[in-house]
Symmetry: C2
Subunit: 857 residues, 2 copies
């Protein structure tokens, strides 16, 4: 019945072309489906004859310039029905629904009655009239809804209804039908909703639509007929297994909606299968699918139709796979020598890894959403609500999973966050304390859930719909979706399988940007080692002062009247801090460890509530009024821009002196235990002037000399600066000759460059991103035009002044794939990110390197 494509050469113009092995068809001009069909044609697969319409043609159609459809139809078998399928550049961008059975009319109905039987032919015609009426002629669907499809005159009723609504008879001319279908599909691509939808998926503003006009394989008939899809893998796992759907006497993708009426594909004891019904066609189908996998170099979902036992391949798309499956598929294709390991690495989107590192809510689970916020740290966890860090620790001690619910978190909550299985806060954005720490720990976290009411004093949260959840109630935080769910939905475990490891091994082989980890605790360091980080790029030391016992000493230090008293208080912390560092050095076993000196403002260590002030007054043996006054006097208007970082280092030098000593003593003690000597890296935060570096460097060197003398042993260390003020970027050329390394702290740098506090940005960031004021939250994706420009200036000036200086990024952006790409392009030596982002960063860095190679070659 059908003519095969290689028999004929047809080209209406260069934009409307029969798909032949040599026709000028490209995804960028005719769309992905047209290109795929051409590939199938080249493989000599049984593809029905297809004419491809280019983007330009479809654009012209939308403007009313319809091509001569009579000529177009002349390429097909005279009596054939045709279908029109969308062919956008990327299948993800959507497009209008495929239209089947174009050309169906009184004559065709009569003709098909002979082969299919009158009932089937009339049903096909009736369905087409209704589809055409609603989707092409845009008539009122209500006019057809009352027609009983089983009535003997259902077809006639439909034709009458059409004529009544359209005020003209149903068009009998196939060319007219086709013209109208093309016009309708072209216009729907230009609709506002379609445009918004595809732009949300990353399509450019001027994304084009191609159309493929294909001769129909009916899927109906006396012999085995039907349609379905088939793939050679399980799309959930990526493991080899024939999966799919097939439905007898069906068209298009009917099989996918058929439920239990669908047949099994392979022979199955549970019921009839395609393999049994049409063994030859099935064997041919498997052969074609394997060929497509081999030659199209991907696991393909094959869309096929069988007409009277004869197989037609209608289309093939890349199997829509789960994250885990996508990784396994890429690895298997490479192991089967179908693609290179490089290509396998390029095929996995970095964020897919991220989702796999944490348990998730099962995609099939029922979701009782009670609140939403910013998806600050991926993964999901279920537990009982607690409202304080202390309660979280108590809960953990009882081995009872809990969710820590806070207005916002602060350093003193860190232990509570560790104890909780997830964190939920009312305030904050992507780089608020809860978000940063949550990601670092791998705790699922939703922040800025401002639509729920938080009533911590009444120990309850209230959902938008008024439901109240009290302390002890079970909820689930879905940090991947940014939602809060009532109860305990079904979960899916984290899946770090061999494919995951293989892929990362291949990625590491390509990668030329080192990846370190931001790790503050022993737990972080262990996670980081498991994820094969190349060292610690940022160890924040302040959390070490919040542990019970240490905090009181810190407060004594803060209230000390003289430098001597301060030194005495700090001397109590020295052995503890030394032990902290020694353990970190031991875990990292020779890999570099970069320790940032004390950064936060001192008032963060002081209580603000009445009870805390009273306790503090007792501990210090001072009147409450006195303590209150001094605590108030230490308050700052803008703590972010206040007395912290190196400014404390300069004005209260005893803290840095103690820390330097702890680092050096730990260095010697860790080195004593064998292996290569430890070479610690010391980083000065919040620098804005060269002199700050000179002063601190001199004091640290003095401390080093003292330790060398006392211990009678030598060691070396590296000193660097955390570049996190715009000024430090601008004067990087001044600073670089005085340091061994510079590390851009892009969190603070972003705050200062925009004049935007990460803690306060949550209030309007959503508005801003939705209105397109910011393309994206700059705390989430590095702002290349502003912050990135400062990075570029800083890097250029630093390298010019000191070519040996090591340059890196250690902000949250260090884990963002786009930002990693950017930093590699700038020529940084390494990126450092939170532990659970290390695999993502390794992959992203590898992809950047490969893409670069491709672009250079």
């Amino acid at each position: 019945m059908q003519k095969y494509l290689n028999e004929v050469s047809f080209q209406l113009d260069r934009h409307i072309t029969l798909i032949t092995p040599t026709a000028p068809i490209q995804p960028a001009t005719h769309g992905g489906r047209a290109k795929c069909l051409q590939r199938l044609v080249r493989l000599k697969l049984p593809v029905p004859r297809t004419v491809a319409l280019s983007f330009d043609t479809v654009k012209a159609i939308a403007l009313g310039r319809i091509p001569d459809t009579k000529v177009l139809l002349s390429v097909f078998d005279a009596d054939a029905l045709v279908c029109v399928r969308p062919s956008s550049e990327d299948p993800d961008w959507g497009g209008p629904t495929t239209m089947l059975n174009i050309g169906m009319n009184d004559a065709a109905c009569a003709r098909l009655s002979e082969t299919l039987g009158a009932g089937a032919a009339r049903a096909l015609y009736r369905r087409w009239v209704q589809t055409y009426a609603v989707h092409v002629a845009r008539l009122d669907p209500d006019a057809f809804e009352e027609i009983d499809e089983d009535a003997p005159d259902a077809l006639e009723q439909s034709l009458r209804a059409y004529e009544d609504e359209a005020e003209e008879p149903f068009p009998q001319d196939p060319a007219t039908q086709l013209s109208e279908v093309l016009r309708s599909m072209a216009r729907s691509w230009e609709s506002v909703s379609a445009r918004l939808l595809r732009e949300a998926k990353g399509a450019p503003v001027d994304a084009g639509l191609g159309l493929a006009v294909q001769e129909m394989a009916l899927g109906l008939g006396r012999g085995e007929s039907g349609s379905g899809v088939l793939q050679l893998v399980d799309p959930e796992t990526g493991l080899p297994q024939v999966t799919g759907r097939y439905l007898s006497q069906s068209q298009g993708r009917d099989a996918l909606e058929a439920g239990k009426k669908a047949l099994f594909l392979t022979t199955d004891p549970r019921g009839p299968s395609l393999q049994e019904r049409a063994p030859e066609a099935f064997a041919e189908l498997l052969e074609h699918a394997a060929l497509m996998r081999q030659r199209l170099r991907a696991e393909m979902q094959v869309e096929f139709t069988i007409e009277n036992g004869r197989l037609f391949i209608l289309d093939g798309i890349v199997v829509p796979a789960s994250n885990a499956a996508a990784i396994r598929i890429a690895v298997r294709l490479s192991e089967d020598a179908i693609i290179t390991p490089q290509e396998a690495v390029m095929r996995v989107k970095p964020r897919m890894l991220s989702a796999l590192l944490h348990p998730q809510v099962d995609p099939g689970a029922t979701r009782d959403v009670i609140g939403a916020g910013i998806a600050a740290s991926p993964g999901a966890a279920t537990g009982r609500i607690v409202f304080s860090a202390t309660d979280a620790q108590a809960s953990a001690a009882r081995e009872e999973p809990c969710i820590l619910v806070r207005r916002e978190t602060a350093p003193e909550d860190v232990r509570g966050m560790h104890a909780a299985v997830a964190v939920l806060t009312e305030r904050g954005g992507m780089t608020s304390h809860a978000a940063v720490i949550g990601r670092g720990m791998g705790r699922p976290c939703v922040v800025g859930a401002s639509k729920m009411r938080f009533q911590p004093q009444r120990k309850q949260i209230v959902a938008a719909d008024g439901r109240v959840f009290k302390e002890g109630d079970i909820i689930t935080v879905d940090g991947t979706a940014g939602e809060v769910l009532a109860g305990a939905p079904k979960m899916q475990a984290a899946r770090l399988d061999d494919a995951f490891r293989t892929l990362l091994k291949w990625a590491d082989a390509e990668r030329d940007l080192r990846i370190r980890v931001n790790a503050d605790t022993v737990e972080d360091a262990q996670t980081a080692r498991d994820f094969a980080a190349g060292g610690i790029g940022l160890c924040r030391t302040e959390h070490m002062f919040f542990e019970p016992g240490r905090l009181t000493v810190m407060q004594e230090m803060i209230f000390a009247a003289t430098p001597e008293d301060r030194r005495a208080a700090l001397a109590q912390l020295l052995p503890i801090q030394r032990a902290d560092f020694k353990e970190l050095f031991a875990i990292m076993a020779g890999k570099p460890v970069c320790i940032r000196l004390f950064d936060p403002p001192l008032h963060e260590f002081l209580p603000t509530d009445r009870a805390g002030l009273r306790d503090l007054a007792e501990a210090l043996n001072l009147p409450v009024s006195d303590v209150t006054r001094r605590v108030e006097a230490m308050g700052e208007y803008n703590p972010m821009l206040g007395l912290r970082g190196v400014r404390l280092g300069i004005t209260v030098p005893e803290i840095y002196a103690m820390q330097a000593r702890a680092i050096f003593e730990a260095t010697l003690e860790a080195s004593r235990e064998g292996d290569d000597p430890v070479v610690p890296e010391i980083m000065i935060p919040l620098v804005s002037a060269r002199r700050e570096v000179e002063i601190v460097r001199a004091r640290i060197e003095q401390e080093a000399s003292a330790v060398r003398t006392e211990r009678g042993r030598d060691f070396t260390y590296r000193l660097g600066v955390m570049v996190e003020t715009p000024r430090a970027c601008l004067i990087a050329g001044d600073i670089a000759p005085h340091v061994d390394f510079l590390s851009f702290g892009t969190n603070d740098l972003t705050q200062m460059t925009y004049g935007l506090s990460r803690d306060d940005a949550g209030r309007f960031m959503n508005d801003y991103v939705q209105q397109g004021v910011f393309e994206e939250d700059p705390f989430h994706r590095l702002d290349q035009n502003g912050v990135g420009e400062l990075l570029r200036i800083g890097l250029e000036r630093a390298r010019a002044a000191n070519p040996d200086v090591i340059i890196s990024i250690c902000g949250e952006h260090g884990g963002n794939p786009e930002s990693i790409h950017f930093c590699r392009t700038l020529g940084m030596d390494y990126a450092s990110c939170s532990p659970f982002r290390v695999p993502v960063a390794r992959l992203a860095a590898a992809q950047a390197a490969i893409q670069d190679k491709i672009e250079r070659s």
Copy 2:
């Protein structure tokens, strides 16, 4: 007795040279005094023979390489005594005391006994022995203190005391004496205290000292002999008047310490005068002084000696004049055609003007200092202590001058600051709220007086010495010195005389940088007009919302549930704001007025104390708990980096809409009253993204269209952006095509570039500047390396993208002379500064232009 200089030519080497009209002497090699003496020699004035020692020579002397003083002395009359005077490059840098009577010994004493009488000769010798002992040989002064100078053997006692202490006899050889004097003076220049002293006055680290060895004119003798200083102006007023001191039978500057024993210079009924005693010498002296003024092109203080009726000119220095006198002198010299108006402009230091604009504590007054802080706004004022803005207003209503004392000030204190004569705060730095507003209003202001204890609840402040000053007590704030004084010291009125105006007129003729004013109120605008500002460069509008009656409406607006309610609340403010603008336009009479749209965070308009919250709850008819919760929820961690400026404009668009309408309606109403049409400038604050500008621009344009339609009249306006985030500088090329002007707000820009809150920096800024971490408080002097670099980048990119864009600076730095110079070099169109800095800025801009011309020519 003396040989005249032109008789002989002497040069030991090129570093030790007799001062002749052609000797190679320059201030940079031999010092200012040597150069001045050479000029006097060229004028053929009776200058004793002098040999100049270069900086290099003196450096060598300090290291022990003494020149051959015998040869040096050979140039003088064989029996002459000599003196050695310091000659540093700038006389302000100090130097060792002049040493007189070198060469005095037994033989000279005998010789002089014949001419002066034995008593005078022996007294001279004795004084020399003692001076030499203490200042040259560095012997213990106690050894000489017990000697009764009237005893007949006082000389012999002194010589013995010398021998006892020095363990050698007093050196009789004049060459030895001279060698030791040179060594002693050279060394004292290298002492630490001398170095610190001159560096504090701006001397470079390697500043050199020259020495002048001069033949003595004795000032002693039988005929009229003595010494003194004379100048042709009153150094306090700068008006022409012969002033000075003369003392018979005296040497050096004895006359200056002589008190009532000094003679008048001109004939005077109150007592004897030089004019009567030595009319010829006096006439000659006046003639010489006039010649010096004419030829040295400055009002000079002439140091002279008369020996037996014969006049010698020993030195001349520029008259040390008061600020007011310095201006008048410069103007008079120019009016007398001695210097050009350009030179007159260059001779006045801009800060001199600043001091003249305000009353000052009289330099002669007794100062009972009870506290010190940062000299935030110049001038001094006396009044009774009040602790609240309300009390200040009440006090002003009683016409009782008061000093507003606050921990810090906030926008709601502005009316209180207006009412007070001066402001004193515990906290803050050069750009804290109190400082900025204080300078704007011209109120003397001391901020950051942290050494005093502020106890506002007890309505008292406690001085460092424990003295308590209560509400109602009288104190004086000296904002020029940064001190707080007890009681009411004698004051000096502000002096804006004709010379001041003439100088500024000349300055304006040279100036090529326009100067505008930062003026928020009608009072500011009037001050600015008096100081001839070229328009308003920054009118902050937020203060307009703090007036009583308006504040409640603002609070209603903030608590409004819907945009409609917000609009309704703002509609009440519209007529008030329109009236504000109309009045400003009227005062500025056609000069440009640049209005910055609403900038501060909304929570600044909400109360924080219990009483205020209760009032607010009543006014809004809401439960206190509800109001408290919402006020708390609006609090920000870092308000500086929060929801304010254009971010409010985007998210709460009703405010800018109301303001734009008020501006446009005022424009039409003000234009209706005659003259050229008003063209308002509207400035968007805190921009960090181009899209912010596009959105606000579109909304403002919409409002403009609406007003045009409603009123049926056309108008134009200019739209611009306040560039105050680092990002706005970096993307200035993106922004510039969308605006008419850009104005750098260097206050906020400095805060963000450094990551340094101006409100919190006070805590450590002193430490930082003292330790040299920052060369200078960057809020005081524009940081050219960091912030200035962003200005340069922003300006270049903006001009490249839109050559017509008008670029200016409107931060506090706009009034700082160095910063003005820098902005002019960058190529800005204008600078805008606080009202009382306008004259300073006009002068500084003129000097920059003149200096540029000089450097180019």
